[in-house]
Every structure is written in C-alpha cells, then in structure tokens.
C-alpha cells in the first residue's frame, strides 16, 4: 500500500499554492433544453473545505449542475463565477463522470494522455504516483477497456487527478460499483479531499453521503432546496421534500 501522505503531497502542493477558482458562485442559473427546464433559478455558493455532496432524486438536475460548473454546458440564463471571475483558471477543474469513457489504450497510456492534455509532460514518476493513488499500479499495461467497472472508475479518478485540479467534480462516482470497490473509491476521495482539493460530488447513496459529506446541497425539480452542513441535513432536514427523500419516499 503506497504512503498516502507522500502521494497526496503533489496534490496538496498545488491546491495550497493555487488561488482563483473558489468560491464558485451560481447566480440565477436556468438551464433548459428546448421547452424542458432542467434547472430553474439556482443560487448556490461553494467554498473551500470538505466535500460538498449533491443529493436529490433522479432528474433533479445534479449532473447538469456539475456539467455547468465544469464548463461543459452553458447556462440558459444566469452566471457562474469562480472567485469572482467568469472563467476558472486553466486546469483548475476536473470531473469524473458516472460512466467514464476509457480511451482505447493501456491504463498507463490513459493517464499519460490526461497528463499531456493538461499540458504536463507525462513523466514515468507522475504516472506511477497516480497509478498508486488509484490502486491500479498492477494493471498499468492492461487495456483500459478490459478493466472491471471499479477499476475503470479508479482510472478515471487518476486521469482527473492528473490535472492537479483545485476543484474535483464527481458525478455518482460509485453508482454501479460493488461495496469493496465503493470503499476503495471513497478512501481515495477522502484522501484527495484531505490534501486540499475541493470535492463536489453527486450521489444517491445515503450512506456514502453521510460518510463523506461536509455539507449537503439537496436538489429537487431543478432547484436547490437545501444547502446545509451534513449533520444538520441528516438530523433535522429543514424542508418536507428533504425529509421525504431521506425517508425513502419519492420526490417528484
């Protein structure tokens, strides 16, 4: 098992030295596709600190919010600012998708690709460090598409971390994983968070939210319904919608 403190060092150095992407401020965000409104009037501020977990039923707009924050979508109305600027600094953000796309090449080559795309030389030691961080070093030469779901998810995480981001968005990072893979991914997330990288993630897994969240953003129907510290959200949800969601009743 690699020494997590050493591995996190590179990330920490960058996160500590960096400025300029936090807080992320969503102001009056609407997002619509044709006549379908996916997000309506979202107001949200995300600050440095522990993981922010987006929760809410399917179709509540969590993935859309992450993609907007990542710059993959443009809001129909409203603005997103990063420490007051309309653009995040280059390479400040990274994202891992629910179903990451594996490039048709080896595991190590996938990481090398991400390093080069981030404008960094893909040195063997960097690749090695990321492989270790994601616990996939023994798979380095395997074709990425031949990995299991959990291994692919960890490779995607390593690729995202190759950017040395200040903010890491994770869209349902363990949605289709078995418990042991989930545990491993959660450990990596905690480690990355501890190194100073801001984690913003969505999940349907209440247990995972309880384990990882510093604060919860609860969404329903394309709106942010609650934004609370995790403890108070779980112990005393302020809204009826959140209470019903936590009780396992469907919120539409």
């Amino acid at each position: 098992m690699p020494d997590s403190a050493v591995i996190a060092d590179g990330l920490h150095a960058r996160a500590a030295a960096s400025t300029g992407s936090l807080p992320i401020r969503f102001e009056g965000i609407d997002f619509a596709v044709g006549a379908t409104h996916i997000l309506s009037g979202v107001e949200l501020e995300l600050h440095a600190g522990g993981p922010t977990v987006l929760m809410g039923p399917n179709g509540s707009g969590k993935t859309t919010l992450l993609k907007l924050a990542m710059g993959l979508l443009t809001p129909t109305a409203g603005s997103i600012t990063f420490d007051g600027a309309s653009h995040a600094p280059a390479r400040a953000r990274a994202i891992m998708f629910q179903k990451p796309v594996m490039l048709r090449r080896s595991v190590a080559a996938n990481i090398a690709f991400a390093l080069e795309a981030a404008g960094r030389p893909s040195s063997t030691s960097d690749i090695r460090r990321l492989l270790d961080l994601a616990h996939i070093a023994p798979l380095a030469e395997r074709p990425a598409r031949r990995l299991s779901g959990g291994e692919q998810q960890r490779l995607a995480l390593a690729r995202a971390l190759a950017r040395e981001p200040q903010v890491l968005f994770l869209d349902e990072p363990t949605a289709s994983l078995d418990p042991s893979s989930t545990k491993l991914v959660e450990e990596i997330i905690s480690q990355v968070s501890a190194s100073g990288v801001k984690i913003v993630m969505s999940t349907h897994d209440l247990g995972q939210a309880r384990r990882l969240a510093h604060e919860i953003v609860f969404m329903a129907g394309g709106r942010v319904v609650e934004h609370e510290p995790a403890a108070s959200f779980f112990n005393q949800p302020a809204t009826e919608e959140a209470r019903r969601f936590l009780a396992g009743e469907l919120v539409v």
Binding site: K67, M70, G71, L72, A90, R91, R93, A94, I95, F97, P100, V101, M102, L103, R104, R105, S106, F113, A114, A117, A118, P143, A144, R145, R146, R159, R163
Partner: protein
C-alpha cells in the same frame, strides 16, 4: 478446359500473370494509402467542425461514394492530359496516373465512412475530451487513433472498391501491355479476345487476394482488440 488452363497458369507461376498481379497490387495499395492519408483526416475534421454549408458538404461527400469509375477516369484523364491543368509531368498512361485515379475514386468513400465513424465516437468522447481541454487538432488525432480498428475496415472497403474497378484505370492507364495492364483491365480485354484461361486465372487471383487481405485485417483486428482494448 479454360478453368484447367487458368489453374495451370497460376500453379506454373506464369510470368505475365504475376507481373499483372504485382502491378495491380502496387497500384491499388498505393491508391488506398494515398486516399487514407487524405480521406481519414478530412472525414474526422468534417465530423468535428461546424461550418456554414456543412450539411451540404456531408451530403456531397456521401454522394461521391457512388462516383462511377469511368467518370473518375475521365476527369483524371482530362486533368492529366497534355493540355490539362496537370498535364506537364506527362504521367498520363503510367501507373502513377492509375494510382491517382483510384485514390480519387475511393478517397470520398474513406472520408465519408470516417466522418460517420468519428462523429459517432465523438458523441461518446465529447464530454471527456472537453473536460480534459484537449485541443481541436489533438481531438482529431485522438479520435482517429481510438477508431483505428474500425478504420482498418474502412480502408479495406476502399481497397476492395479500388481493386475491383476497371473503368478508371482503363481510361488513365490505357491498358498498355506490360506497363499499365492490371487484373481487371486484363480480364476485360482477354475475355473479349476469347482468351478465357488468363481471364479466369486472374479472376481467381483477384478474388483470392481480396479474401486474403480481408482475412489478414480481420486477424489483426482480433489480435489488436484483445491487446489494446
């Protein structure tokens, strides 16, 4: 009896027959390579860029897949003839002219199929590559590389079309004995002369070659998919 004569020609290693086979392969492989070098990046670029008239360009590219070989032959003939715009090097009625004609014939096929393939792949890769801030040129390169196994099949489609056509090489090559005579033009000529043994022999070789090239490509693809994902 012609069939026996054909086999005899093949098995005895008839020099005329194998010279024709050699030239055919040289022309068609060169043309496929040339068309791939032009057509694949072109198709990928059309797939990844948005410009005015793009829809019309795609329809035209798809339409050009059905170019009649004789028309391509005629156009290349006009371009390469002494008074034509590219007439000065004097390459009409040479294998080079045949390579150009076949490349013109199949480049649209390769470009159109590549465009469709890369566009489908882009739909899958868009978010991931955009999130990684991969630049436009690197996107083309990445998608072509990741589509490489399917591109082999597209290359084969072009090869098959070029190997089978007769009209274009007949017009720009002139079917000159020992110089620009390839399998298809020889089959056409010898059949009309009644020399069926050579025609059948070449026909058999042509079909066998196309099968063999496809079998090799299939094997390479199987192997590569196992080893590269």
């Amino acid at each position: 009896m012609d069939g026996v004569g054909a086999l005899d020609l093949i098995l005895s290693g008839d020099r005329t027959l194998f010279a024709i086979v050699r030239l055919s392969l040289l022309v068609t492989l060169s043309a496929t390579l040339l068309a791939a070098v032009v057509g694949m990046p072109l198709g990928a670029t059309v797939a990844l860029t948005r410009f005015p008239g793009r829809d019309a360009a795609i329809v035209m590219l798809n339409g050009l897949m059905g170019l009649p070989p004789v028309v391509v032959g005629l156009l290349v003939f006009l371009a390469l003839s002494r008074s034509g715009p590219l007439g000065s090097p004097g390459i009409l009625f040479t294998p080079t002219a045949m390579i150009i004609a076949q490349a013109v014939l199949i480049a649209p096929i390769i470009a159109a199929l590549t465009r469709q393939l890369v566009e489908d792949l882009w739909a899958e890769y868009r978010d991931e590559l955009t999130a990684m801030e991969v630049g436009p040129l690197a996107r083309v390169k990445t998608l072509l590389w990741d589509a490489r196994f399917s591109l082999v099949t597209i290359g084969l489609a072009g090869f098959g079309r070029a190997a089978a056509e007769v009209g274009a090489v007949m017009i720009v090559g002139g079917n000159i004995d020992g110089f620009t005579r390839v399998m298809t033009t020889t089959i056409a000529l010898e059949t009309s002369k009644g020399n069926l043994a050579l025609a059948i022999g070449l026909g058999l070789v042509l079909i066998t070659l196309i099968m063999a090239v496809n079998a090799i490509a299939w094997g390479v693809r199987q192997w590569a998919e196992r080893h590269a994902g």
